[in-house]
Amino acid sequence: MKLTEKEVRHVANLANLNLTEEEVAKMLVDLDGILEHMDRLKEINTDGVAPMSQVLFDAGDTASLRADVPMPSLPNADALLNAPQPGQGYFKVPKVIERS
């Protein structure tokens, strides 16, 4: 095992997830498997290969950029369609200054 239960709980907490005891045990095995897989990938010699975090294509500097021209936004009512609690044009959330 590369991972501890405590670490699983810590990561879950950072991700705002409440896990049951069973889920913690399951995640421990799953995440451990992922880390082991990463270790296997590390065995490959990548000297001289630039790290890649996005799939790139050959194009000019600005090919992926957008012109600074405003487009219509959503009407307020549409923007709030999925809001659990809309009010006065706002999204209302329970008064939480800091996550407990």
Binding site: H10, N13, L14, A15, N16, S53, Q54, L56, D61, T62, S64, L65, R66, A67, D68, V69, P70, M71, S73, L74, P75, N76, A79, L80, N82, Q85, G87, Q88, G89, Y90, F91, K92, V93, P94, K95, V96, I97, E98, R99
Partner: protein, 487 residues
């Protein structure tokens, strides 16, 4: 909280670094085409991207990149040919994505500086980095009927384009921090990267403050002070924080690294008591955006489009126009002011006199009318013409002071006003001589006094001549002629 007295503070060396967030003056948000509008009704400038609806993807604005590069160049930074966006993960209701798109280990630009002068001493403050990121929305905690139970979230600002400018911990007093922020703001306004309007939150500042005994080599533990939304608060908060930390250390306490909030009402900083793991942001490369490439060619094109920076302009005003440092500083406070001045200087052909008229009489009229230099009813060309008339002796300074308010009122050029009111300096020497003779004849007592050595009455006699000429005789001519006549 007890604060340390000045004699105790004097034993310590404060160390200050600033993190400044600046909103870029683009028309749209950084990653979507929603319009950037201040004061719009809540949640009306939002779209699937900035609301973080599933499947929506960010597309970076080219203008945001160009402004960020210009800002970096204005701060003398090295712009990296490749920089990368990263996700900074945290949960807060005003950030619907659950993360901020920022830049982490590969920022847009690094290794810059800002030169400051405090009490006549020049100092270079390092700029560690400039990186791009998106802004969060706004949480409204008060003002609604159910504000005791609910927070209202407006996402109009969510996705606003920001740059964060991080300084080296090079500042040693609140005055240096104040000067740094002033210079930085001025440079960014000159290159028109941002309005830097602090009241609208377009310029926001956090300060990292620590203290160490003078002569110590290792910095003390720092506190990050947030919510410094004016220059005055920046200075007050830093001075408070220095006094608090010195008192704490002197009383045997230990500083903890923490975030503190400045309370403008009490003038104090208060611990935010954030959770220990609140800073575990788990940064990772943003998979939805390709790396940002800024070629040398693109960078050169942007550099070529930049105006002269205020610090360079200030220096040039001193060397080219022979202005005093202080005057050069006043005349380069804003770009419109500096441009106005240069036109007056050029039209008048007398840069020093031009500076005096602009900073004195015109500035006074503008102030009284509550106008900025951009709104001046007197154009730079007309002020230049007025100054030229004075410099060439065609108009006395006294008459010019009467003409300027009329120009201010009507927007007219000085020439027609001077002609209409017959204010041209008397060039007819015979006429001046006649007035002088009349004055000498009318004031035998004063003439006698002068001849017996009481030269102070000269002022009175000159005054009489000027009065009789309705201010149109040139004072130096009158002086010389009177002296000659009185022997």
């Amino acid at each position: 909280m007890e604060l340390a007295p000045p004699e105790l503070i004097a034993k310590y060396q404060p160390v200050i670094g600033l993190e400044v967030h600046v909103q870029l003056a683009t028309r749209t948000k950084i990653f979507c085409s929603c319009e950037m509008a201040f004061g719009a009704p809540p949640n009306t400038n939002v779209c699937p991207v900035c609301l973080a609806l599933p499947g929506a993807l960010p597309v970076l604005s080219m203008d945001a990149v160009e402004l960020a590069v210009k800002a970096s160049l204005a701060l003398h930074c090295r712009v990296n040919p490749v920089s990368r966006f990263a996700r900074k993960n945290y949960f807060y209701p005003d950030s619907p994505k659950g993360y901020q798109i920022s830049q982490y280990d590969e920022p847009l630009a690094e290794h810059g500086y800002v030169d400051i002068t405090v009490d006549g001493v020049k100092k270079r403050i390092g700029v560690t980095r400039v990186h791009m990121e998106d802004d969060a929305g706004k949480s409204v905690h008060d003002g609604f009927r159910d504000s005791d139970r609910n927070t209202y979230v407006d996402l109009n600002r969510c996705g606003a384009p920001l740059i964060e400018i991080v300084s080296e911990p090079d500042m040693r007093s609140s005055d240096e921090a104040y000067a740094y922020l002033t210079e930085l703001k001025q440079a960014l306004q000159f290159v028109e990267v941002s309005t830097c309007d602090m009241e609208k939150g377009h310029l926001r500042c956090d300060a990292n403050v620590s203290v160490m005994l003078k002569g110590a080599e290792k910095f003390g533990t720092r506190a990050e002070v947030k919510n410094l939304n004016s220059f005055r608060f920046l200075k007050l908060a830093i001075d408070y924080e220095i006094a608090r930390q010195v008192a704490l250390v002197e009383s045997g306490g230990r500083m903890v690294q923490e975030t503190r909030l400045f309370n403008a009402d009490s003038g104090e900083t208060v611990s935010m008591r954030s959770k220990e793991d609140a800073h575990d942001y788990r940064y990772f490369p943003e998979p939805d955006l390709v790396p940002l490439r800024v070629s040398d060619e693109w960078k050169a094109r942007l550099a070529a489009s930049m105006p002269e920076l205020p610090a360079d302009k200030r220096q040039r005003f001193v060397t080219e126009y022979g202005l005093r440092e202080y005057d050069a500083q006043v005349l380069t406070l804003t770009r419109p002011m500096s441009e106005f001045y240069e036109e007056v200087a050029s039209v008048s052909g007398d840069p020093k006199t031009a500076a005096n008229w602009l900073m004195g009489d015109l500035a006074g009229l503008l102030k009284a009318a509550g106008k900025e230099i951009e709104e001046s009813p007197v154009s730079a060309k007309h002020l230049g013409e007025l100054v030229a008339m004075v410099s060439k002796g065609e108009l006395t300074g006294k008459s010019a002071k009467d003409v300027l308010p009329k120009m201010f009122e009507t927007g007219e050029a000085p020439g027609p006003i001077v002609d209409r009111e017959g204010l041209k300096t008397m060039s007819d020497m015979g006429a001046v001589e006649k007035i002088i003779d009349d004055v000498i004849a009318a004031n035998p007592k004063q003439v006698e006094q002068y001849k017996s050595g009481k030269t102070a009455v000269m002022g009175f006699l000159v005054g009489q001549v000027m009065k009789a000429s309705r201010g149109q005789a040139a004072a130096n001519v009158v002086n010389d002629m009177l002296k000659t006549k009185l022997g």
